[in-house]
């Protein structure tokens, strides 16, 4: 089985670990914890699919993977700029939150396989279908990229439905944009785990209460026409998948974006390995059917 021939590896030209400093064009405070950073492409032609990620970091603070929050295709920014939504949870992200317009952020990427909405990868098959987006918490960030991309080419897709949930009304992301999305022809159902009265500007929450997966059984779904996309915290997937199975949606029509620890982004460091696949290379977007026999995938 092992025989290597006489191949002496040749050294390439550039380091995989050299970041590009990008200018921050705008910082928008979304919630207490989340900020949206618009990064200038500085003349570089970044092309990406929704669902792909950048390794973003700062000197002295390390780097971490962040999903792209921007749309691509017809929804891409003309100047190549893009947005990352960053939640302050640790040393790096707290430091990033201290940055202002005009500061620089180090990025490498884009990495991984995203949702290939228009293209020819094995993930094609979204065009012409009904799409059910299921997002939990910060999972709305990569979902936003996907939704914007799809809304940019609205007539190519069937019915669009977004089900999305947050812990409490305080944490709701992109509430304003949601109205635009609805106006562009997407149904949206918002839910919160708990209304947390008194804390919220949305005092006296009137909307749906309960985790995202509790909303799914009530939806009208045509299983043969529907593609479902799930992005959320690790605990959400099993329940969401179960409720989609109850609706008879096939494994091939369920798409997931999996969060993993990542240190390199280029398929070397081993942290994001799930069974035989690297989430940073073959993922983070997968079809459920691709994750069969992988004990720690979900």
């Amino acid at each position: 089985m092992n025989s290597y021939g006489n191949t002496m590896p040749k050294s390439g030209s550039s380091s995989s670990y050299l970041p590009v400093p990008l200018l921050i064009e705008r910082v928008a405070r979304l919630t207490e914890k989340e900020r949206l950073f618009k990064l200038s492409a500085n003349g570089r032609a970044f092309t990406f699919d929704p669902g792909q990620f950048f390794m973003a970091g700062l000197p002295g603070y390390g780097e971490a993977p962040f999903s792209i929050a921007s749309g691509s295709g017809k929804a891409a920014e003309a100047d190549g700029s893009f947005e990352l939504c960053i939640k302050a949870v640790g040393n790096l992200t707290n430091a990033i939150h201290r940055l202002k317009k005009g500061d620089t952020l180090w990025v490498r990427g884009p990495f991984g396989r995203g949702f290939d909405v228009n293209g020819s990868s094995p993930l094609r098959g979204m065009k012409g279908r009904d799409i059910l987006f299921i997002a939990g918490g910060i999972g709305i960030v990569p979902m936003r990229g996907l939704i914007k991309t799809i809304l940019g080419d609205r007539e190519s897709f069937g019915a669009l439905t977004l089900v999305y949930g947050f812990k409490d009304p305080e944490g709701i992301l992109f509430a304003g944009e949601m109205e635009d999305w609805k106006a562009s022809g997407m149904a949206a159902l918002l839910t919160v785990d708990k209304p947390a009265p008194g804390l919220s500007p949305l005092k006296g929450w009137k909307g749906h209460v309960g985790v995202v997966t509790t909303v799914i059984p009530g939806l009208e779904i045509n299983p043969s026409k529907t593609v479902a996309v799930i992005i959320g915290p690790p605990v959400m997937y099993r329940f969401a998948i179960k409720s989609l199975w109850d609706k008879n949606i096939a494994r091939d029509d369920i798409y997931l974006s999996l969060e993993r620890r990542m240190k390199c982004g280029v398929g070397k460091c081993g942290h994001c390995q799930i069974g035989g696949i690297y989430a940073c290379q073959e993922g983070p977007v997968f079809k459920l059917s691709e994750l069969k026999d992988m004990p720690d995938a979900l």
């Binding site: 002295g60 040393n91 707290n94 430091a95 201290r98």
Partner: protein, 272 residues
């Protein structure tokens, strides 16, 4: 240095409770880096390093960073410690005594009266108030601790990385893997292979396995990792010929308090 540097330099203080003060000495032995440290920190209290008399914590207004060395053994110390917590934004436990109780915990094996009598003889009874003593506790049993620098003494490298982290607004990282990792990296032959035993497989790393590298064994001074496999280690020690008693002793040397902390003896650190 900008003119207002004095204002922006964070105020730091080093306090010492029951211990040998060796961890403060370890800080002072960072000779190459001391100028950088002094440039970055406004050290307002450091008894072991300062000749001038500085204000005691009870009078001081506040501290940005309080490094606290030593374990707690008297009521007076408890009061002082609570004072420090009130006035400090960040409290760092400096070394084994403050973070796990350290060697001092050996005292806890005996009744306090017996301990007092052994040390002070007939004076124990005569000066009851003066020689008041409590079972040894790590400081987090009294106050909330923001970050731990483990070890007896602390590792200079870890202290310096905590220093840079704090100055850059980061929470210093505490390793959560056993000493075996450091020991393998150091290229050491396992002490078990050399006919000895050690506590490395359940002890928190970060020390570069200096003890084993220089011919000793790991006594577990950095306390247990978050999820130690203590039962497996007892089996291993048994297999290598240790009796139950000698096993407990080796765990007790530094581990007494940290075993308690891990829940097996029922004492938990204070929430806040």
């Amino acid at each position: 240095m900008p003119e207002n540097a004095e204002k922006i330099r964070p105020k730091a203080a080093f306090f010492s409770f029951t211990c040998c003060e060796g961890c403060q000495l370890a800080v002072l032995s960072c000779e190459d880096e001391l100028p950088d440290i002094l440039r970055a920190l406004n050290i307002v209290y450091f008894r072991e390093a300062m000749t001038e008399k500085r204000v005691e914590p009870s009078q001081r207004e506040d501290y940005d960073i309080a490094f606290v060395e030593g374990s707690v053994t008297t009521q007076k110390e408890i009061t002082k410690l609570k004072h420090i917590r009130k006035k400090a934004k960040t409290v760092i436990a400096l070394g084994a005594c403050s973070s796990t109780g350290g060697l001092n915990c050996l005292k806890n094996r005996f009744p306090m009266d017996f301990v007092k009598k052994t040390v002070y003889g007939k004076y124990a009874e005569k000066y009851k108030k003066t020689f008041e003593t409590l079972p040894v506790r790590p400081i987090d049993s009294i106050i909330k601790v923001d970050c731990y620098l483990h070890g007896c003494p602390i590792s200079k490298t870890e202290f310096l990385s905590a220093f840079t982290a704090l100055l850059m607004g980061k929470t210093p990282i505490t390793q959560n893997y056993p000493v075996c990792v450091d020991c393998k990296m150091a290229g050491n032959i396992c002490v078990f292979e050399k006919g000895m035993t050690c506590l490395g497989p359940v002890t928190r790393a970060g020390c570069d396995a200096v003890c084993v590298t220089y011919g000793c064994i790991c006594w577990g001074c950095r306390g247990l990792v978050d999820d130690p496999n203590v039962s497996a280690h007892k089996e291993t020690l048994k297999r290598y010929g240790l009796t139950a008693e000698s096993m407990l002793r080796s765990f007790d040397l530094y581990g007494n308090c940290s075993l308690r902390k891990s829940g097996s003896l029922g004492v938990r650190p204070a929430k806040k």
